[in-house]
Symmetry: C2
Subunit: 611 residues, 2 copies
């Protein structure tokens, strides 16, 4: 395992997670697809098969894969895309100095060594997964996803004892490729999969699938480098990020993104407005549709899988933000608001939305309709500005759908617990069940430094209510740019939130991992307990702080309670004792009451005095 | 600020939090009471008065107080107790070698230097706050609490714009001493306040008051010392723990507890069974009612404010746990189950419950009726064993109330989100609205090392639904004994959960702090943002990692977005621009539609294709 250094060929963290093997499952409709899953081996005394878990980490955790950042990942989807016969290769847009913010020789991030000429749709065709789904085509991407989402569902029949409250979500007992197709066709799920990012492993974002999480990375004008950002991307997916947004600003923005995309096994999202703003030297008023449009094409050719587009920030809504405690807190939202107000014009994103759709359908870039007016404080939650914009996002969703474009909708922000559910319900109603993609929400403003937690609470809840993807928040939120440790903390926190949501929704396979870990815990299989956890390294390190010896890995206690006070050890004694007598006989005896049953008579006298 | 060392006179962390002053508010009914509150000063440009916050940290954060651990804290309640004229001083039970687990000369924790002869009720009278409340007496403790709970409620009229969903809680606009009395009289709130712990500042636990949090400390047979535990107690209250449970096991248990109680500004809870078990060398079967009873008196004389008593673990319920994935995970529960099963007898705690009440009313020790059969995994949540025990806790609550004893009810544990609310509703119904005191609950089992977060999610939710006190979980849960850093992380996480719950319940003063912090954030008052946060030290450190200079404390950006992309800075520009034109005129124009309003006609064509 190595750590990224500041050099042009960054090294990244690789190697399997503890006790884990990457397996590949072949398709049936498409026999050439190889769906990666992670199997966690358990101790022989468990008498259990390895546990299969969802694995977004890509080839980096496969020892059979030789990591070579300067070459990029294998282009697994290239043949599938080619086989569809609806795309063409072309020269593409030339890279210009302003694409990298006029980074000079010194401090410039080198070009990525390999150039792949971009693909685009032929003759104005839609090459989106939505178009295929509507045409009744089950793409390799869809079958890949079906296999991936099922995990061990079929094998583990027990899990089909469904239990949960799904708030109207319709999670099937088993995910078929046809189900994936149908959900995509209905606009209830998206498969972010730019034809120019064939390195990515297909994944799906939708309310009837596993809840996904996104990790934001990206340098800022103030700090960090390309090597750091590539490693952050690999690092984030290692711990479970399902998509990564590159929110870089400052110089070298084009080249940093190229290194990230070529090496990313997960879909990459961006906010194209950030780069467009760099091209006009940070002066919002100088933005034009032409510059923005050119940036969309630049990024679509690179392979960005989804664009955050703040087309719902309309001129008329800006006055609604003026009495807010925290104004406009979305970077994209504030930039567009400034542009609108300065020119006294309707947003060019709104006015040119159909043209944006035409670009997106040419490359299959999914829309992530940005919530530029999301609340930035508890005080501003669920206000008129926020919900006015949401209505517009619903309107834009329908336009995008008419153009065969895939759409997800971004959501808040800062929302106290009692106002979270309204967000989900309104979004479902207004946006026709397009997937919701929320930032947190943060449930209080008073804990900077811990906003992964203030927001993890809200994320778990809104995930339960129906959000399809949760955008992580790191401990550095509001304070500074997250580093590698912050990225990991953010990802693990959001994996917790997403998984808690899956459990509560009644996802049929979600509890398999909880139960396996609980059994390991009860049987003092410490190694299994570490290995089954979201972060085996931290679990082990915490345990070993006080009981580092190998012998303690099979000890029937830990330092929390010590040997005499371990309830689980005592529980085992109890079971052994009970078995001597025959537990069933005992149960029957006690259930009948018998002479051991304490009559509640003495409680009667108390009842009157009680309340 | 100093850190505890391993020595007989431990030093503890003291000194005010940043920008904070401890103020004292006098009573009206009882003019001699001095209620401590913390005032956080804001930057002059804020134009705002200091923000008052609840302050459980005791004299340690008061520069006027000279810390002397070997003397203990001032005995502020001694005169109030004396004035009631219903107690008497007596010699008390002699300390025996087994009280400290036969700790020899070597490694023995020294006796606390000052011995205060214990008090007890005269002639079998009840000296509980419940008894006084029922008699219509507003004690100094009650007025102290009323002042403490109100914070700046009266001054900040704006906060009275109530907003929230309280699930039946009845939080008043203003807390009067009479309201406190009434809630205690109804059993809906408790004031844990042993007459032998006059050092503690009165606080209340009830659904219609601020949600409280408890921090567990205590050594185990494997690790840690008295000095560490005293510092953990002071440290936990510094960051906001409202009560502290000393869960020590192993040797020196009596003396460690004495040092803790004499120095604790918050109520101390214990599980007397742990010490009783030490007295029989860890052999559960050897426990007797006599040993247990003696331990209750020993601890009551020391000043323990509440006892966790697992009297609901009845013999008949044990078979219900046999098919569980994780058996019995409460230490007390498993010990009692083992005793019951071994002797084939009903629990001696259940059988002697009225005698236990007699002891508790003699000293005003509150009951925390333990949930010995709480689920230890998602798989076991809300099962028959758990709810059978809850029914018994309801029965015991009525017995305790008949004896004028104060009661809170402990709750789970491990519960997925969709099963949390049922716990709260059942508890309210079965236990006659006695306050609920829950451990988490943890919403998934798959994240050892992050169980402060898995449980923080559940804690926030159950706090919203009505839990009165949340027992923290630290990152070390399931893995080892928490250290000082873990204690702080656990406390801050639970302060977040409690505060998020207060906000969602619609507590009239809760949002004052969020709003103050959000205003500071929007106005780039970085120092205020740090100082208003739950953990100013961490917020500042995170910010300063990338922008350490003093100048950056007034900079209108941070390293997350850099200067050009700061949405808040842009928002300010927007407002300035808007003001030039007159925002009201602008608003009116846009609301009317005008020529800038985009007709939705073009969306119509899309509607058919959409879903």
């Amino acid at each position: 395992m190595t750590i990224a250094q500041k050099n042009p060929k960054p090294s990244v963290t690789s190697g399997p997670l503890p006790a884990s093997t990457k397996i590949h499952v072949a398709g049936e409709i498409h026999p050439d697809i190889r769906v990666p899953l992670r199997e966690i081996a358990l101790h022989p005394t468990a008498g259990e098969p390895p546990l299969r878990v969802y694995d977004a980490s890509g080839p980096y955790t496969d020892p059979a894969h030789e990591v070579a950042i300067e070459k990029g990942l294998p282009r697994i989807r290239a043949a599938w895309i080619e086989a569809r016969g609806d795309t063409e290769s072309y020269e593409g847009r030339a890279i210009r100095p302003e694409d990298n913010g006029h980074a000079g020789e010194k401090g410039a991030v080198p070009d990525f060594p390999v150039r792949h000429p971009p693909l685009r749709a032929r003759h104005g065709r839609a090459v989106t997964q939505l178009a295929y789904a509507r045409a009744g085509i089950v793409t390799p991407e869809m079958e890949f996803i079906a296999i991936r989402e099922n995990l061990g569902r079929r094998a583990a029949k027990a899990a089909l004892l469904r239990d949960g409250e799904s708030f109207g979500a319709a999670i099937p007992d088993h995910v078929t490729p046809e189900f994936v197709r149908d959900e995509v066709a209905r606009g209830r799920a998206v498969i972010p999969s730019n034809i120019n990012h064939p390195e990515a492993e297909p994944m799906i974002i939708g309310r009837n699938f596993l809840v996904k999480i996104n990790a934001n990375i990206g340098n800022s004008a103030v700090t960090s480098s390309m090597a750091e950002e590539v490693e952050k991307m690999v690092w984030a997916t290692r711990w479970g990020a399902d998509t990564v947004m590159d929110l870089s600003t400052g110089r070298n923005i084009h080249n940093i993104r190229e290194w990230i995309i070529r090496n990313s096994p997960v879909p990459i999202g961006t906010v194209p407005l950030y780069q467009a703003l760099e091209k006009v030297n940070g002066i919002a008023e100088d933005l034009t549709w032409e510059i923005y449009r050119d940036t969309l094409i630049e990024q679509a050719e690179q392979g960005v899988d989804y664009f955050t587009i703040h087309a719902g920030v309309r001129l008329a809504y800006i006055p609604l933000t003026v009495d807010r405690v925290t104004g406009i807190v979305s970077r994209g939202g504030s930039i567009m608001a400034k542009w609108c107000l300065h020119h006294h014009r309707e947003s060019f994103l709104y006015e040119h939305f159909e043209e944006i759709c035409d670009i997106c359908r040419t490359y299959d870039v999914s829309f992530s309709l940005g919530d530029g007016l999301r609340p930035g404080s508890i005080a501003d939650a669920n206000d008129a500005a926020q919900f006015a914009e949401l209505e517009t996002l619903g309107e834009l969703t329908r336009i995008a759908w008419a153009k065969d474009c895939q759409v997800i909708i971004e959501g808040p922000g800062h929302v106290p617990m009692h106002k979270i559910r309204e967000n989900m319900e309104k979004q479902l109603a207004v946006c026709g069940e397009a997937p919701f993609y929320t930032l947190g929400p943060l449930t209080t403003d008073i804990a900077p430094g811990y906003d992964h937690i203030t927001s993890g609470i809200g994320a778990a809840m809104i995930g339960w209510y129906g959000t399809a993807m949760l955008c992580y928040v790191t401990p550095k939120e509001h304070l500074g740019l997250p580093d590698r440790n912050d990225v990991k903390t953010g990802v693990i926190t959001y994996k917790i939130a997403a998984h808690a949501a899956d459990l509560a929704k009644g996802h049929p396979a979600a509890r398999l991992r909880d139960d396996a870990l609980s059994r390991a815990r009860f049987e003092f299989r410490w190694e299994d307990q570490f290995n089954l956890s979201l972060d085996p390294d931290t679990a082990r390190a915490f345990h070993d702080e006080t009981l580092p010896k190998e012998a303690h890995k099979v000890a029937h206690f830990c330092s929390m309670c010590g040997p005499k006070f371990c309830s689980m050890r005592i529980s085992h004694d109890l079971r052994a004792e009970a078995q001597k007598e025959g537990m069933e006989a005992m149960t029957a005896k006690f259930r009948d009451g018998g002479d051991l049953y304490m009559p509640v008579a003495r409680a009667t006298g108390a009842a009157a005095a009680g309340e």
